[in-house]
Symmetry: C2
Subunit: 356 residues, 2 copies
């Protein structure tokens, strides 16, 4: 039976054709999680290496941020206990034989502990605390940028079991590699091509169009725009882009960082209250080191994991989105957030106790 | 700690850098499934729409193959009951507004029932029966090729829950779309570039190198080569390629089809007995309709799902393979298959009862 709502949409950033096939008689709120993810989690666990007091059980510390006037730490960065790659290689050598190309397994793999509280989620932290997390990302991003062995830096977060987390304590990861990950290399090529053809940044054009269309916009602030892409790869898949052209996450000014903290927090709260604390992944896609400023536009991509990967996608490699991006956006816009106890905003500067 | 076995390898067909990080002290046989997937499955179920006698409960039939001399059917093809796309659109119209590109939701979505037996797996069918499945694929592939609305055809199979199957009865799927899926469009571009630069097919070169190296080869027959790629995206990820340059799956001759049936069956049996009936996906990647013969080389990719997707991959979008391709290949080569009761080979031609 022909359903005019079903179509194939092209995602201009990822180059994917996405099958947009909204489930009949299914409303956005039907994507709400029905099990209860908020089981009793204690604020502190003796056996958690990320809880305050247990710092000795975690691998060695790289960075530590102290709250203004606070006694303990607010965020910490430690090496990953089971790193995918090793940072103990003075110079990663490239190898080639015929069609076989490889490079020594060099890489930096860090864990960012987002808060001392074991039972928190990023959505429930206050703006100032989210800012501390983003400031930590930025510090580590900038520090890695100075390492000549590194071509590319990825920062990502897994929230919940379907997103692949085994550790409950809120944390993110940073991976820096001597090569550029395919997803970024590919998006970069697309943007370079567009720049060459049109003399314009593809993402800047897309943002202008999205803001004009309005229907998929979630949040528009001075410096950021959060929206569900026209060809969202899955239900509630969403992007946060800086409105000014910026190739690199590390170039965030303090003012922009504060704005991003508010924006990200609002979006995560919309997901938290609207969809009942769904599992999600997010990733910051930023330009590789060698990239010209004009050829990339960094962004943060959030992928709620509302169901297990479907067989169709696993088998065919094509994406199906079971919801209409415009409807998902309208729903998230309509989610009312609980009023907040307006605690006096903390003032003063975060203090970097260790690292840079 | 530096581990010389860890490296980043480049996959020349998919363009991905794969982190090859073999788990220490982990042997290939440790990837064996430890739960028992072979629960009691009856040979027939009254409520299964794919079992013989229940044909009326399945959506309308497109194709039916009868065994030589047999009474019932050997394979059937029916429309998918919940198709992702609709075949009821006379002409799929393209739409464009600014950067938004879409096409009407036209597509063909069929289910191939591989055997009348509810409790079978492809690995346990005899060669002649696997040949019937592949002959069915080929018939449907060719029929779809003749539809001018179709740009691209994907045939895939999901085996087991981790591969996204909900239906137990052995089946595969065919999806034909008016656009080319990204994964194929991307591989096509890589191969076109290589053809233009070197005047040679990238896959043909790779196969020559793999056969010379030998260490990753699983099976080498007159017409096919099965191997674990140098930069396999995950443990036991493997490819079956035709040795002669062929852009399209549909161009298989009868002799090649017979050879492919033997090769595929051997590989699936190696996985079945060596890893204890692991869940897996496979997909046939074949050239789009418009593609020049020289610019693509079709292949079948098998992805065993030995564990749930890891957080690192979900978050970062980079692949980690926890095993060394050379060791996985050596292990699969060493798997001894149970001796078979050599039933007299069925002779005679399969009879297409319905469809083409």
């Amino acid at each position: 039976m022909y359903d005019p709502q079903v179509s194939l949409r092209f995602n201009i950033i990822t180059n994917e054709w996405v099958i947009i096939a909204p489930r009949r008689a299914f409303r956005p709120q039907d994507f709400r999680r029905t099990d209860s993810p908020l089981v009793e989690t204690p604020a502190y666990r003796e056996d958690c290496p990320f809880c305050p007091g247990n710092e000795g059980h975690a691998p060695s510390e790289v960075y530590r941020l102290k709250a203004p006037g606070g006694a303990g730490w607010q965020t910490r960065v430690v090496y990953n206990k089971y790193p995918a790659l090793s940072h103990d290689i003075p110079y990663p050598v490239r190898h080639n034989q015929g069609l076989k190309y490889s490079v020594d397994g060099f890489g930096i793999h860090e864990v960012i502990v987002e808060t001392p509280r074991h039972d928190m989620t990023l959505a429930l932290l206050d703006t100032h605390e989210v800012e501390a997390v983003l400031a930590t990302y930025r510090s580590r991003y900038r520090a890695c940028c100075e390492d000549p062995r590194i071509a590319h830096i990825i920062i990502f977060k897994n929230h919940g079991e379907r997103a692949g987390t085994s550790l409950v304590h809120p944390h993110s990861q940073l991976v820096a590699t001597p090569v550029v990950s395919y997803q970024v290399a590919d998006r970069l090529r697309t943007m370079e091509d567009h720049q060459e053809q049109s003399g314009r940044c593809l993402a800047c054009r897309m943002l202008a169009e999205e803001i004009e269309d309005g229907v998929r916009i979630l949040q528009l602030t001075e410096h950021f725009v959060a929206f569900i892409p026209y060809a969202a790869l899955s239900s509630f898949h969403l992007w946060i882009y800086p409105r000014k052209h910026r190739a690199r996450f590390g170039d965030l000014t303090d003012e922009e960082l504060e704005d991003l903290a508010r924006t990200l927090r609002t979006i995560l709260r919309k997901l938290h209250y609207g969809l009942n604390n769904p599992d999600f992944n997010y990733v910051i896609r930023s330009a590789p080191s060698h990239c010209d400023e004009e050829d990339f536009h960094w962004y943060l991509s959030i992928v709620p994991r509302l169901s297990r990967a479907a067989g169709f996608e696993l088998g065919s490699g094509m994406y199906i989105n079971a919801s209409l991006p415009e409807e998902s956006a309208a729903f998230l816009r309509s989610v009312e957030l609980p009023e907040e106890l307006l605690a006096p905003t903390q003032s003063g500067e975060w203090e970097i106790v260790k690292g840079s």
